[in-house]
Symmetry: C2
Subunit: 313 residues, 2 copies
């Protein structure tokens, strides 16, 4: 049995996966704040899951997706600011207590790998072919790219960082220092900052206010669609992926978001026969709400430890 965990800022999603890659158990629990509490969360999740389905045998591996930078080839997490973790070697911290191999991966990459496994079920671990980008729309914007059953890890850890591609020299200032980055237009953090009203769901507020006729909200909402559509184009024109799957907090807006993005893609297809030939609207999909993609991806990445696949990282 393989365990996969997706550690989020408020809750942790955990799945147990059998040798065929099927999810046989799932649970969610609150994520603790700070390094020690995160370690306790991991241990508790693994033990609870293991106890839930003893018939699937002992735990063979644990994979963990975490919202922070994971140093290439290591399990060291840095700058996981949403978890209150500045630096943590998660495999070293939980490995001895668990007694099985532990692999740690950035959460967007884990979600990408899981979304790929759900989208191309026969292709995981090189058993088939097909390529996909998972575009995470959260506080920030980043993508994970999977082709032929392998995560594209890149040379120095910036693969899929499409959020910091500028698409407008006169666009808003990004926290990275450039103007008009995709993230400055479409990132939940940037939108909340520019909207500057209180509320737990600022992007939803912006959508509601835009529908009520607020011109400033309309502008922010249009910028979100512009940014997402641009990220889709970048991913297809650079990596030529079969599909772009949208996930992350902002996708809770569901069909309202998709309608905006589709309209933006349709407008560029209208203007450009070349863009039309790419059939981008047909290549974009929304990850279903509540999808276990990230935890599943973490489980599969953890399991790959045993088999030498995914070893390029």
């Amino acid at each position: 049995m393989r365990i996969g965990l997706d550690i989020g800022g408020t809750k942790t999603d955990a799945v147990a996966v059998d040798s065929a890659g099927t999810i046989v158990a799932r649970l969610r629990l609150p994520t603790g704040w700070g390094a020690d509490a995160v370690v306790r969360t991991v241990l508790e999740a693994v033990r609870s899951l293991g106890a839930q389905v003893p018939e699937f045998g002992p735990i063979d591996s644990v994979g963990i997706g975490i919202p922070g930078q994971v140093e290439p080839g290591s399990a060291r997490v840095v700058h996981a600011v949403n978890l209150g973790v500045e630096e943590l070697d998660l495999a070293a911290a939980v490995g001895p207590a668990l007694g099985v191999p532990v692999r740690v991966e950035n959460d967007v990459n884990a979600a990408a790998f899981g979304a790929y496994a759900l989208h191309f079920p026969l292709s995981v671990d090189g058993q088939g072919s097909g390529s996909m980008a998972y575009l995470n729309l959260g506080t920030g914007i980043a993508a994970g790219i999977v082709a032929d059953g392998e995560l594209w890890r890149g040379a120095r850890g910036t693969a899929g960082e499409v959020g910091h591609i500028s698409i407008d020299p006169n666009g808003p200032l990004c926290r990275c220092g450039q103007h008009g980055c995709i993230e400055a237009l479409a990132g939940g953090g940037a939108i909340a900052e520019r909207w500057a009203r209180s509320g737990a769901l600022p992007v939803r507020d912006v959508f509601d206010a835009a529908e009520a006729g607020d011109p400033r909200a309309g502008e922010l909402r249009a910028g979100l669609a512009r940014g997402v559509a641009a990220a889709v184009r970048v991913l297809v024109l650079t990596a030529d992926v079969d599909a772009v799957i949208l996930g992350g907090g902002i996708t809770a807006l569901g069909s309202r978001l998709m309608a905006d993005v589709s309209a933006e893609l349709a407008a560029s297809a209208e203007a450009s026969p070349f863009m039309r030939s790419l059939r981008l609207e047909q290549r974009v999909e929304l990850l279903p709400a509540g999808s276990p993609a990230a935890a599943l991806g973490a489980a599969l990445i953890g399991a790959a430890l045993d088999r030498g696949a995914l070893a390029r990282g």
Copy 2:
């Protein structure tokens, strides 16, 4: 012995490569115009090279790089407008006369693979690791991406088509119908069209006129640097390649071009700590003038026919 040909609009570069991947002979000859003449050019180049170095034994394979769309998994070339070829199955046309396997590849992909072999000599054919993009600056702008000894072919033939990523909604109209595409700013064809003066080397004229103080030339020259720098950022932020190698006709401008591109990358590094951390200036290189990269890449791609490598395409 493996033969590789780079069929250009005016001349064809041909190399013979031994089993270690070393170039043992090279020749250039004029490219004929139209399908029949292109076929004759290929046959003449292969026979002349074979006769030059008989000590390297019989010809085992022929690989051909050609400036046109090559249908995935085939040797059918379409829209090779610079050669006067609307449609041609080049392997079928030359294979019977040559009696060896023939593989045909888009010229940018062939140059990318050859530049990779020259840049990471131990990594070709999966013997090592490393990733690179070859960014071709010619009439149009497109890139080939190679990682771990394999060409990234993508799902539907648009991998590396970074020229049609828009970086400015208020930028010039591109021939593709969008505004502010990288190619509309930095493509030799677009620059020549906007410069609209007679002359064999319009981009060089623009550089000269800009240095002489012509404001319109200065604007076009600045746009070229902006476009190239943006393509470099896109390639690193999406595919996270170790290096971006610039090649193609515009790179005949050499250090004048590099100085502009470096200044543009330095300006964004100055504005953004994130961009600074990518060290883009150190990752960009110019393919040396007269480099046999494209013909070498074609030879290696042709040779891969025998060995099953590169077979994902």
